[in-house]
Symmetry: none
Subunit: 222 residues, 4 copies
Amino acid sequence: MDVLKSEIINKSLSPETPERLLEAAGEVFAEKGFRNATIRDICKRAGANIAAVNYHFGDKEHLYIEVIKYAHRTLVKYQTDLGLDDNASAEERLKAFIMSFLLRIHEDGSPAWHGKLMLRELTEPTRALDTFVEDTIRPQFNLLNSIVKEVIGNEATIQEVRASSFSIIGQCLFYFHAMPVINRLVPQQKFKVKDIERLAEHISRFSLTALRNRDEGEEKYR
Amino acid sequence: MDVLKSEIINKSLSPETPERLLEAAGEVFAEKGFRNATIRDICKRAGANIAAVNYHFGDKEHLYIEVIKYAHRTLVKYQTDLGLDDNASAEERLKAFIMSFLLRIHEDGSPAWHGKLMLRELTEPTRALDTFVEDTIRPQFNLLNSIVKEVIGNEATIQEVRASSFSIIGQCLFYFHAMPVINRLVPQQKFKVKDIERLAEHISRFSLTALRNRDEGEEKYR
Amino acid sequence: MDVLKSEIINKSLSPETPERLLEAAGEVFAEKGFRNATIRDICKRAGANIAAVNYHFGDKEHLYIEVIKYAHRTLVKYQTDLGLDDNASAEERLKAFIMSFLLRIHEDGSPAWHGKLMLRELTEPTRALDTFVEDTIRPQFNLLNSIVKEVIGNEATIQEVRASSFSIIGQCLFYFHAMPVINRLVPQQKFKVKDIERLAEHISRFSLTALRNRDEGEEKYR
Amino acid sequence: MDVLKSEIINKSLSPETPERLLEAAGEVFAEKGFRNATIRDICKRAGANIAAVNYHFGDKEHLYIEVIKYAHRTLVKYQTDLGLDDNASAEERLKAFIMSFLLRIHEDGSPAWHGKLMLRELTEPTRALDTFVEDTIRPQFNLLNSIVKEVIGNEATIQEVRASSFSIIGQCLFYFHAMPVINRLVPQQKFKVKDIERLAEHISRFSLTALRNRDEGEEKYR
DNA sequence: AATGAATGAGCCTTCATTCAT
DNA sequence: GATGAATGAAGGCTCATTCAT
């Protein structure tokens, strides 16, 4: 009986059904993927009726699209400049970018559903990917490109800049794509914020060293 | 009609049912994931009856496990030393490793199902991951670690070596995880073997530069 | 066509789906046994969709359990004292017990599904048997024991009482277990209420005679 | 490997495939019933190929029929007079009949598959029941009737005799039909040969007492 | 004479969706 | 505006049976 009561209280005090559905759906889609997620599960977590998804969003796919948009809005809201002042050096800005990137897809050291969902979208793209790329990813990519270009210097070709950006992003994403494997290869405790900082440190150093000494590599390999 | 004909040809000329099932299942599992793959689809592609999976492999999960093993066997079979002689330098071996790694998970420029399946296993690990890590991944990881250690020099800690290996692998994997996004960010024709070579070139240079000048980074960031 | 019509009538006038499912499932389980009964058949008889069982009862096994409980409730509801007044003799009560027992598992002279289902549960016990024994059978058994004890007299051991009760019940059950054989050994018309009365008469007489003259048997056989 | 070897040895030393199939099928049919028994299981127990049943018996149903016939042949072979001499009294012959009946469907205290199978045939008759009744049951029934008639005396009607025979058989069968319930009502150790003797003792006494004092019952109840 | 592979029908269950209120 | 009941299309799996050797 108390369960029922608390559910009712929850219902009246918490956000309205559509937002509760979005939040619940975000978790479930992130965890199970689009097809393996069930509407029943989502509705149960949201404390909503089984027909609520169809009622508010039409069908499962439209719910998914709205979740992607919702995730983007949320990310944008929490996006900060990480305390950089305007005349920070390119090196500082790169390091800040990496740290921000890592933090955004982690939360309490484990990937938040926003991050997980994006990773899914990379690996198993749906129709939502197009808007997702244009709204969320490309701005970030352009920002990173401009930083990289500044570090390398103006003589760098656009191809070189892009490839270097991908090298940097690839390093970051690896720690989320491959977490199950990493944990098996190098058993360790849970990933904490502390570890994210160390990780950002490593990736920054590795990448900056590569970028700054680019001419050396060029001599030997071209 | 052609479908029928090719099926008949398949049946009479191609390998026996179990192998046809493994091959078909590999494709489908890679494409759809374990749960979204249907036995009906697999059997149809293999030109086998719907009950064939049950007969030869017991159930869907055991089929999947056998597919993972089969993929491992196939990868090992095609593994080569890429023409390195015994006294190749660490730099040469690193570049060969990267090239081999990229080639092994590509086929005609797009990820072969062996590669795709492994990526899936990274992102959505199943019970097969444990053996997969030990049989397939750890040996490669150890090999890479030893190469990296030789490049950096003996003073490197094990943590540094591992982090650097992850940075290298991360760059490689990015081009498979994120292919749909890459294609949207930088529209291009299909990924061909030629592109893989250029890619290996870039990753090698980027990584070697970072490794060789490691002490510089250390001064500035520690 | 009549089938269709009666189905429509059923749907609108008859009890709600869960009860219709219980009733239909009772018949089918009784007739075919748990494993041979098909959900399709049950749903068709209940005029319900194939997914109705899953929706209302979870799965086939839970439906079965509920059918057992439902049968118990139904039996209890129809249980009467058969018009005995409070100071009826033990003999009268035994005869009433037998008559009631026979009537309860018959309907129009042939075993109703409640009865059949119980017989099945005896022969092929499922997990439902435990509760079935405690809820339905043991109370009846205790009642019979007390009547038997009163007829024999207080000097009877508990073992003797039980064995005699089993002898009585055995005679009753035989006419349901073995009906197909009985009909072949002694061809006759359908079993009617009239026959049940005659049968109760015989079993009562046979058993009472045995119980009342128990000491005689004891002399000769012990 | 040893398993394989011993199987081969078994195969060559044990009876020929058809008989091994009959024996195995008897066990499985008795345990699971006709429909729940699987050909795979039967063949595995018989150490035969999955296609052996169809090869030797045509199909599952014909195998079943042959099992019933086989069970009859076996029963007849082991049937004895239990050491009665020719001028034994009706009472002695009744007791012997009961003992023989109980023993025939038990073996080592638990129902052998011959017995179990017959019980199944009573409850869920198949097309095999007709021959089964005529070949196996009716002779026994006639024998019992003649004994009962002798005990009661010649004035008994045929209806009375039959009803009494059924009362006797019913008592016997109860201990096999209802064993799971009996064990729950009166928890006890396993049923041993000793118990069967005691049981035969009780049923004999109960029934003889009833038969001998029949006129008393008649007075009161008719 | 006997076998292992292969078949297709049918079962239980799950799921997104729709209906009636 | 919102709900619980109901739907029908698959999906995984099992089974008796047949095929090819």
